[in-house]
Symmetry: C2
């Protein structure tokens, strides 16, 4: 079966490779619209929008026996959702609100596929991981933002990068924080017979 | 200050680089002797042995203003300690005992240093992370062991490698499972004024 990742994220690509999947990349071009109020609804909704966009294009191109993976990740602090920072000030503000406490990272995943005989399948799920950060000083936050690592990441940090120095612990799947819950994804693909 | 990693592990090197530390590598050549019965005592004891070996050599070479980092990691299942597998059968046996349940990973760290004026410092600590694995079939275990990834790793798995597909969740520091608790290490170095 042909696997297509509907995301341009290099981190999601690396995670698929890490667990040994072969895939192609076809980022969705849909204008994403946040739906729902709860973080879990939002990430699942955005994952579905991305996957449906690429699924439709695959069908139009006459593809058969394929699976599209859509995913979206947000950070949630006491229920308030954070996406990627708008600018340097926004990144500093986000990090200052996250440091010294525990927040949640949600990744939603949509698996939309069509098997050889034409049978469609659809699985949508999310994983939540609690992340606890050590306290960070203003100077530490400024130095971290200066690395530019925060700018393209939900919540303005990369757990797999320099920010590892400031992470006390997590509770849940680590790769879910990176951008794709690799363990759950593998288990769901098994259930789909892939 | 000159930082020396008393370990040949490429994963520990990568973690130090990830959090932005500059260091040199000087693996200890000491014959490691397990001391103590509890996993925390064992890893701290081995970390100290490695760091002391390199510290002594640095002193003999007339080094000043330096810090040696020693570390050791073991897996513990219901209190029984697992190191690296002896062979393929041992790796399969370890993975079969870990799959479908929760175990503990302990990494002990020893920081032995001497500051500019000659003042010595010494900090020894450990971190514990709970790791929960999804159930694995005999076929999945055999396929994973065939990748050879398990052979040089405590507990016969690499959470940062292919085994990510089989990890349900963790509770604690992820990098502690990889081989060095990067967050705690950074905080301890700060306390040492480094």
């Amino acid at each position: 079966m042909h696997i297509i990742l509907a995301s341009a994220s290099p981190r999601r690509r690396e995670l698929l490779s890490q667990i040994g999947l072969e895939y192609e990349v076809a980022p969705s071009t849909v204008k994403e619209e946040m739906e729902g109020a709860l973080p879990a609804e939002i990430v699942q909704g955005l994952a579905v929008q991305k996957a449906e966009d690429v699924f439709r294009k695959m069908k139009e191109a006459g593809a058969k026996d394929f699976l599209v993976i859509g995913a979206d990740t947000v950070v949630s602090l006491e229920g308030a959702v954070m996406g990627k920072p708008a600018d340097v000030e926004d990144a500093c503000r986000m990090l200052d609100s996250l440091q010294g406490r525990t927040h949640q990272v949600y990744t939603g995943v949509a698996l939309l596929g069509e098997k050889e005989g034409g049978a469609a399948f659809r699985r949508i799920f999310h994983e939540k991981t609690d992340v606890t950060m050590y306290p960070m000083t203003k100077e530490e936050i400024a130095a971290y933002v200066e690395t530019k690592e925060p700018m393209d990441k939900a919540g303005a940090y990369g757990i797999q990068g320099r920010c590892a120095a400031h992470i006390e612990k997590i509770d849940g799947d680590y790769n879910n924080v990176v951008g794709l819950p690799a363990g759950r994804l593998y288990q769901e693909l098994k259930k789909c017979g892939i």
